[in-house]
Symmetry: C2
């Protein structure tokens, strides 16, 4: 079939990767990006949760031959390092020995992907704002943001990879009858803060971990950067007694942090400046349907399924979208009606599932990880899983380290595991007898 | 406080009624309506479910002195008249003796409301499409649909009463960060069909009832018109074996109707013409938040809370919005910051509740009303309610005949009643012993 003339809206991580997949197949691809070329600009501070690149994302990057280069800017994180309110710390490995996720800078990764896209012949046009899409003609109206021009672009195949607030989705899909759509904001926002490197680029906290300060209703996290610094993110209520709204002076911020994140404060010399200079951003879950129109339009990545960041899967899921789509191009021999149909029917349930898993994980990260009983539960699961690796892969590991398991399968099997573990954890004196053979047998019985 | 200069977007039922409330208070009100003046046009056939005006709507119309006139174009419907698949019929009263809902033409009602609005000094401008709203300036950009003009209108107070697909909501509210929004379409559409009057305007079915042909997964209903005709509405799956998509020839439609709605077909001489000439429309539930912005903008009616039509409450709820808002103007003495805040906090939970009740009622109407056991349950509830009117008002009656009970209260108490009745209906031989004193005692005990 025909190699369609393709336009991608959005040169973010997913749009750039998608363009590489398509151009490697001989498709003529143009990307239109609303922002300027970030490779020519200073990075915008204060708006980037560090990304946690894990196996699904890695698999997709490996397929386009980019992973060896990206690995150089990754810092492995082998587990969660908890900083409890009472000053104690705890550590929970993410998976088995040798399994880890990777802290990587969104900006760096995006720049490398754009470079590779251009090396493969993709043309990226910047400062191009998608104003509207004429659905019948597949004609897109782009307005230059740096000059008073606009351009109507016609394409045979259009992808909307323009993120959680996708213009492709809002201007195009919302025009259609029976478009299922929901955008749901949690009552929490986030703000980026900073722990600079120590002398000679040394790391002031354990380097190879994701740090969490779980505080019940809210939390701070910190991810390592290759320059020795950590990017901290405070996830915090917008309103209420303890909230972004209530911390409205430098004194209040300082007092609050000293009481709440005591061990972190000495490492944060620019705390109050960062707090008031950096924006407070919101956190949204977007679900919609359909993602596609006939053989000529598809949403991909956050534009199709924006999620909160608490499972570290937003980028990984978007990259997996690209990888699955690519495999379907093979399977259906460039027949885009068949490709897009199967893409949607495979990925829609997986997108929904990881959106739900991500929302659930917020409670786990901000609250449960501070509970010794929860950590014991995870220890029991890990021990059982080690002994019976075919019978029990913990839900976190299914999502993070098992790209052959679909998100929708991980959601269901995670719910089943949780039901079993609730019974185990309710046993009297479980703290002391969790290694008994009887417990193992109970779990085994429940699995049948 | 100041009588604000007010613009209402949409001259539908709710916008027109709202303008009357406000103009009676001395507010200067202009309405901008996208369509032409329906009073000067032939009615558009095929797109209007007859409305069921009930006590909440009546109460609001009485307050502006319009109900005596509207009553003349109403036909009381005292209950549901079921036409079962096996040819049998059944009847279920809606409430107690003397309680009924009213079949009324949307077009007629809307015309009278617009007349009354103009009599009260409201200016209605037609063919004015709301293109965008400048939120900071409260300036609205209206484009004439019948000439190449546009106008920027500034107002101190703006209401969006422009229905389920509200431009005020989509162009204005969706611009804001943290706007909670969902639009959910059911997999069913509807199509208007017709049963004409008999000789001398006689009614060919029982006049004072809402007729239902419940068929499990789908249904047809018919409501009486004052000219002796009935407006039928088929609620039917879009896709699937038995669906709008599959009934694609006149022969298929005829065969299907003859097998499925056997007693109705002889009364529908224009069945196949109507089926293929009238549009198939979709059914959406819209929930959003916030409904208001400061002291200057509010959504009202379907624009704030669109619901499926299965509880007959869309208009009644919108009219109640107006009545509640009006009472708050008294309470807060034209202080619009306080008025809109309380309007939102009172009406948002009620809007959500009636949206949910309406979705649930689809299953009841298309499926359960054909089940003798369900009808028995309703009979038991009615009998108990008659004996203990203070202890048990059936959920349907709470919504339909009890405007002093909030929708959100009706939802909760309906769920409690349903749980009790599930236990009662599970008793062996309930068909024969439902009038036993023991049953009555069981219900009484559960109510404490």
């Amino acid at each position: 079939m025909e190699k369609k003339n393709t336009v991608i809206i959005g040169a973010g991580l997913v749009g750039s990767l998608l363009s590489i997949y398509l151009s490697k197949r001989g498709y003529k691809v143009k990307i239109y990006e609303r922002r300027g070329d970030m490779r020519k600009q200073d990075m915008v501070a204060g708006r980037s949760i560090n990304l946690a690149l894990s196996d699904r994302g890695i698999k997709a990057l490996e397929e386009v031959g980019l992973m060896d280069e990206i690995r150089k800017i990754c810092i492995p994180m082998h587990g969660r390092f908890m900083h409890n309110a009472d000053g104690s710390t705890a550590y929970q490995p993410y998976g088995k020995e040798g399994q880890f996720i990777n802290s990587v800078s969104r900006g760096e990764l995006n720049c490398r992907l754009m470079d590779l896209a251009e090396e493969n012949g993709v043309q990226i046009k910047f400062n191009e704002k998608c104003n509207s899409i004429d659905w019948k003609e597949n004609k897109i109206d782009f307005e230059k943001t740096d000059s008073p021009q606009s351009e109507k672009v016609k394409a045979n195949l259009v992808f909307g990879s323009d993120g959680a607030y996708s213009a492709a989705r809002l201007t195009h899909q919302l025009q259609h009858d029976r478009f299922q759509y929901s955008q749901y904001f949690i009552d929490f926002g986030y703000k980026e803060l900073n722990i600079p490197a120590g002398e000679n680029g040394s790391f002031m906290l354990e380097k190879n971990a994701l740090h969490i300060w779980p505080r019940g209703n809210y939390m701070m996290i910190a991810l390592p950067n290759i320059d020795g610094s950590f990017t901290c993110t405070l996830f915090f209520p917008f309103e209420g007694e303890t909230s972004f709204a209530s911390l409205d002076t430098k004194e209040k911020v300082t007092t609050f942090f000293e009481n709440t994140f005591t061990d972190a404060v000495p490492l944060m010399p620019t705390l109050t400046e960062d707090f008031f200079n950096n924006p407070t951003s919101s956190l949204v879950t977007v679900k919609c349907f359909p993602w596609i129109r006939e053989d000529k339009f598809a949403l991909i990545g956050d534009a199709a399924h924006a999620m909160v960041p608490f499972f570290g899967q937003g980028m990984n899921c978007g990259f997996e979208d690209c990888r699955v789509l690519n495999s379907l191009i093979d399977k259906h021999d460039d027949n885009w009606s068949a490709i897009l149909n199967e893409y949607q029917s495979l990925r829609k349930p997986d997108g929904d599932a990881i959106c739900d898993l991500a929302l659930n994980n917020f409670v786990e990260m901000r609250d449960k990880v501070a509970d010794p009983k929860f950590l014991l539960q995870k220890k029991i699961e890990a021990a059982f899983s080690k002994k019976y690796p075919d019978k029990w892969i913990p839900a976190y590991a299914q999502v993070t380290f098992s790209p052959h398991i679909r998100y929708s399968e991980a959601l269901v099997s995670g719910q089943k595991q949780e039901a079993i573990m609730q019974q185990i954890m309710a046993l009297p004196d479980i703290e002391n007898k969790w290694q008994d053979e009887a417990i193992e047998k109970m779990i085994l019985n429940q699995l049948h």
